[in-house]
Amino acid sequence: MRRIVIAATALFAANTLSAQTPEEKGLQIAKEAEKADLGFGSSIVDLKMTLKNKNGQTSERFLTTRTLELTEDGDKSLIVFNSPKDVKGTATLTFTHKVGSDDQWLYLPSIKRVKRISSNNKSGPFVGSEFAYEDLSSQEVEKYTYKFLEQNGDLLLVEQDPVDPKSGYTRRIVTYNKDKGYRLEKVEFYDRKNALLKTLTYSDYKLYKDKFWRALTFEMVNHQSNKETLLRFSEYDFGTALSDDDFTEVALKRAGN
């Protein structure tokens, strides 16, 4: 009897939910996910990027990423290259914006200069990997339009269409885990001709501060070129409080040296 009640409640809940349009529901899920991750402040993490081609030849890069959470606009991030040797100390600084193109700078230690990168192009591969810059940058809610697709247990599938006309994708299908703070489990990327291009799978999730889920492994597989890129993260450091001063051109130069 109790089961029936629960089932009836669930059904009712589902019905009230479906009163929303799929677009509204998709947006709601994205907002929930953003909300769930609210308040982490800042983080520092080291990561190893492994590029693998069809033949299994690999190539590695080591990076450190610092992120500062902002609520009124997109997050700020600073990525420092620790290897390969030739680009050691090269660092990028990015200000993501909720609306419009992001701002991006690169510090080149060999000439000790900061260069601004034309921000129109962010759909290209990041340092030869299968990740585009747009896959790695802060996922602001405003950068997509949404459409809820289906629910599979705790998993919610939402289609996201990029707002930027220069995006390399027509759409992404994102799998949220509702039960685990709306963390991402999987993203499927469809290219401009709407063919499945890549799948990004998140794994080795770890819960920080009882609230923030961080995947320690990202695996991106390109189905068209059969190339892969693996990101392995070290422990996240949420303890070092970073501020705006750590995300300036001066900080960029400092980080690289």
Partner: protein, 793 residues
Amino acid sequence: MNALKKAGNATNRFAKNWASFVIRYKWPVFIGTILLAFGLASQGKMEFDGDYHVFFSESNPELEAFDALQEKYTKDDNVILVLSPSNGDVFTRENLIAIEELTAEAWNTPYSSRVDAITNFQHTRADGDDLYVDDLSYETSLKTEAEIKEIRVTALKEPLLVNRIINEAGSVTAVNITVRLPGLDSAAEIPEVTKFTRDMIAAFKEKNPQFEVHSSGLVPLNTAFFESSQRDLMLTMVMLLIVIVTTLILTRSFFSTISTLVVVLFSIISAVGFVGIMGIKLTPPSAVFPTMVLTLAVADSIHILITMLQKMRKDGLGKKEALVESMRLNFMPVLITSLTTVIGFLTMNFGEVPPFWDLGNITAFGMTMAFLYSTTTLPALMAIFPVKVRQRDVEKEQKIGWYTKLGYFVSRQPARLTLISFTIIAVLAYMATRNVFNDEFINYFDETVDFRTDTDYISNNLTGIYNIEYSIGSGESGGINNPEYLQKLNEFEDWLNEQPEVVHVNAFSEVARRVNRSMHGDETAYYRVPDNRQEAAQFLLLYELSLPFGLDLNNQINVDKSETRVTVTIENISSAEMIAFSKRGEQWLKDNAPEAMQSLGVSPTLMFSKLGFRQAESMFKGNVFAIVLITLVLILALRSLRLGLLSIIPNVTPVLVGFGIWALYKGQINTGMVIVFGMTLGIIVDDTVHFMSKFLRARRELGYDARQAVVYAFETVGKALVTTTVVLLAGFAVLSTSSFALNSYMARITVIIITAALIIDFILLPSLLILISKKSEAVDEVKELQPQIQLNK
């Protein structure tokens, strides 16, 4: 000898029993063969494969090297759309907008991974400390006249664009679509791309009538292969018509024609069944199998029918007796000629080119079935049909007279004719060595094929279609940023650009120079490769971060940045020149660059260039094998070692004559022609068999001397040989109309060889037979050596 004679009698008895059996159980035999033919046909499947890869066996070293290069970078099959605006200037607002739209639409091409056009070219420029990398013409509709002029100036100075995407005059431009075909089912993938691009072109032309559009590239090449297979398959219909008419003329019998038609159709549908059972995908060379089977199978039927009708018309035999007699006389010759033809076709398996394996195997199977149907379905049907003939003698006499005259003519002057023949053969054999291989794949198609005319247009007006690629290593991870490497690469690029055949060079050193310039405020003095490794690496990182989706450097740089790809676009040059050019490049690297940078040139063009040589090399063994095997068959069939060995001369010389005449006609041979030796050997040997066996019968059974025996042979088989030769010539003449050179050249030289074979069998062979017999009668001891001495001529 006695044992063999007994064996001969045994086969005679066997053939007689076989014929009686078939006639007695005509209905069950006929129905049985129907079931067999349709049973096989039900397994039939006609699938096509147009991918140019089919021409290369998996172990082909050029293919392996090319695949390795593609896996290191990216797999690049392409469609190049070449746009020629009628006003002769690409750089007008209207034209640029059209190109920008077409470029955007081209991204929707199935399997596309990259689209390169003038509008989305990633133009690099410096603005103070900022680096801008952006489409050369984005949102063209918003551009001012001044900006459009600026775009023109930039584009026509851009080494990556000129002679590749835009011509020097700025009047013709290209949109190059790179596709990454999964290669799981090329029979579906290629047409998918082709259909999309054709629709896209049609829509573009409708909206922008000021443009002329030509298309080429590897995908259209594949499509052209694909479509030429289907076209050549249609030649079967023409051949079928010819078979009907020929049979009708030769036999002057309606039922005979019907029976022949049934036999050849059964043979073809059985071969189709074989294609399905073996899972063979048809390619241009193998798609001609129905015509081949048709041409070769009809000869069996004609031999049997002509003898039967002759026996009825001339000797006044009843239908059944005539049929049995015809089967008795023809069973062995038909068996042997079928066997030699099958051997000839099977030797194609020795070659390097898989489509010819298929052609050889399918035709061999079809021929085996043709033999079966000719000796079962044909007599059964003739027994069923109410065949009636009127006796006609007068006409016969005249025809025999003609062949007899020829017989006398030859037997009167054997030495002189032998000398003349050998002189002509020697001269032509020498000429044959002057042929050169040329497998330019564009020239595989004649001017009736759009691919050919479009490609010619592109070659004449914009860029080359042939290319060679070198993967240049640095020997260490990240080593492509080493200034020494970049300097050397730059020198190689410069050297390539100086070569007269070169249309365009795409090398990483150009990227390095361009970025270096932009990093130094666009100063021309810095348009050179960086001289500091860290600088080079960091500039490259910056540049790569600035590139958009699909226009990255992954097609040019490998994952750990230890190697880069140099793509050289070449004018249309012959295979030999192509191979020489690639060697010159390799040699330059050997002489001037460190060991790690040495590399072998690879590309589809080069693969085709070397294909003919590989095929010839590998077929050589097959040809020797075919001669030995066929000679053995003849020795057994003729029951004479001497004549068997002698048969090598009339069997081999037609091919020498054929290639000698070809040298005067075209002088260039392709991969398709390499197979003709084994193939024609199996076919022309029939003439020799028929002629020699009649000659021997006259000598052995009738006790004629050599001269009389030659005349007898002319009288009895002269007409039959001319008849079958005419049918064969008709078949191969039909094939020679193919728009695909691998098939048409093969067919044309076969026409020459078969004609030569008939002449040689009518002039040289009888002369030799007389000469040998004379000598052997005089000097008995050396008679076994005689043929070998002849061979050395």
